[in-house]
Symmetry: C2
């Protein structure tokens, strides 16, 4: 595996290698329409609003989530196929 491939893959795994971020992804995928706003996540995880916003940005930057602003709220949802692509890198099966 090339150095670049490894770095890129590691960056994506690093994004989900955090308990709170894993739970965020879980909450979002289990939500209505598979999307959630910051306020939906702050309470169940018992984290400050700025911390949640920070984690969500990391997941967006890694290509795991997308952000869509509607009015005052920012809705986060899963990027289709992103997690499956990561899983495929582990199994070696595309």
């Amino acid at each position: 595996m090339s150095e670049d491939t490894a770095s890129s893959l590691a960056a994506q795994f690093k994004a989900i290698a955090d308990p709170n971020r894993l739970r965020m992804v879980s909450i979002i995928s289990a939500s209505e329409n598979a999307e959630a706003c910051v306020c939906d996540i702050t309470e169940p995880l018992n984290l400050g609003q700025s911390t949640v916003s920070h984690h969500l940005k990391i997941l967006v930057d890694a290509g795991v989530l997308t952000r869509e602003k509607r009015g005052v709220w920012a809705y986060y949802s899963l990027v289709p196929g992103a997690l499956d692509s990561l899983a495929g890198a582990l199994t070696g099966r595309p």
Copy 2:
């Protein structure tokens, strides 16, 4: 997802969320008999011996690799199903 589940999963993902450790896993799985010793890994990754040993320990502690000492050498190999289990946690398919 429970807090404990998230922490446990995150710990495993954290173990592979590093470029050099990903390449180590790649080197091992591509090696003869799917096993490699420290000296097989030091050169291609251009890392110090103690650093390689340190990374391999992290992967062993996470349940990704096993260590078997034969004579002077320590052979590392993949734990069967470990990576597939992690991949399954991402896809939701067991």
